[in-house]
Subunit: 254 residues, 2 copies
């Protein structure tokens, strides 16, 4: 049995709470969040606490707080013997360096308010300051997910940059798609099967091989026609830059 | 029973063939492709033909050929009485204007060689020159999909531009994600659950509301750090342009 104190009230904390709560090997000793109103998700299911004065003993303290708050919150845990971990993709393990035992427990996923998703397939990226906590942290990871890996801060930094492209920027491509549809009174939902298949294709094909469209075909006629029809300056800039980048990346083929 | 002649041997033609073949209401009279070697997918399941000299009589002739070939191929069908349709998102209905009866049958999806997908949820966008073919074309659409809509050439043009953003450019975001991972020896597959959830989120949230990441948070520290770590000039340009665009789009919130 692994005893856990969970700190945070955001999407990551709420999703982690739901997943940990269902895990037979884990006991949630306490959920800590400064604002008691934000702790309703845990109330009646686990002890809750709105200050850092009475932190119970636990094997692992999970700081699922915003990147900017990690080092400040970590100060409250510096004299404890348990393992203190943060859940951030963008933050170095060094943010916890004043703690006695520390590491990273980063679930590589996007979490949405009110949308609870299964952790089973979510890659959990671990990092540790001291190797002797390895079994404990790995065991926590495995209690949630089938995909647990050790990734160092340097690798995690790159993974996080890659995640910005495939998640944040991809979502922005969807936003532009929606803008274009809305402008013409077309239902954006028409594009959702295409969007899902674009993602599902990665199961069988690398994105480099899956590339299609006017840019990779060198179809100047369509490129020209599209640019003529995109009235929004920002959308036009993005269309041009990305089409040229696709041409450059696949240059040998053209 | 709707009788159909299918022209083409590419991904769209092959996927359409598989779907039509399973449909009780449709009889495939013939599959036409210039290169007999490319017709193996239809061989033994339907009559095949490598020239346009013996086109059988049919209710609908589906030209699932490349955009550039549509008007040339359409010439072969100009004196027939059946309804001639193309399957292209980017091509006006006017490409078929020399035919007697013509229209568009555009399945809004990305098709991959060797990956046969179900048509059930694929939106099929129809357009017709003459209204009296409406029931026939709609009935063909409904035999394959639960989502059949009439979309005119002007709307389809916008839909196709939106599709370039959500499909081609999104796939390019995946490509950059893979480049960044490969450079550091990280397995790109770690990002696939994130990629799929980014797409699945659209079922519950518009992309405008789903936007996350350093740009929308106005997190200059992370933006600066990421840019410092992206060595590839083209990736840096894309990172900057898209981050600024996200800031502009969500400007009111910052």
């Amino acid at each position: 049995m692994i005893s856990v104190v969970l700190v945070g009230t955001g999407n990551v904390a709420q999703n982690l709470f739901q997943a940990l709560e269902r895990t037979a090997h884990v006991k949630i000793e306490q959920v800590i969040g400064r604002n008691p109103e934000h702790l309703t998700f845990a109330k009646s299911k686990a002890p809750i606490n709105s200050n850092f004065d009475a932190i119970p003993k636990a094997d692992i303290y999970i700081l699922a707080v915003s990147d900017a708050a990690i080092s400040t919150v970590a100060e409250k845990f510096r004299d404890l013997n348990g393992l203190v971990v943060h859940t951030s993709g963008a933050t170095s393990i060094q943010a916890l360096k004043h703690c006695r035992n520390y590491g990273v427990f980063y679930p590589l996923q996007t979490f949405t308010k009110g949308k609870i998703i299964s952790f089973q397939d979510i890659p959990i990226c671990l990092e540790l300051h001291k190797e002797n906590d390895c079994e404990l942290l790995h065991s926590l990871g495995e209690s949630l997910s089938n995909n647990v890996q050790f990734i160092n801060s340097e690798e995690r930094k790159s993974l996080h940059i890659a995640a910005v492209f495939v998640n944040n920027f991809t979502n922005y491509m969807y936003t532009i798609g929606e803008e274009i549809c809305t402008e013409k009174g077309i239902d954006f939902k028409l594009l959702i099967p295409l969007i899902k298949e674009t993602a599902n294709k990665l199961d069988v094909l690398s994105p480099l091989k899956a590339q299609t469209g006017p840019a990779i075909r060198g179809d100047q006629n369509t490129l020209h026609n599209h640019l003529k029809n995109i009235k929004n300056k920002q959308q036009r800039e993005i269309y041009t830059l990305l089409s040229n980048a696709i041409k450059n990346t696949h240059g040998e083929k053209l």
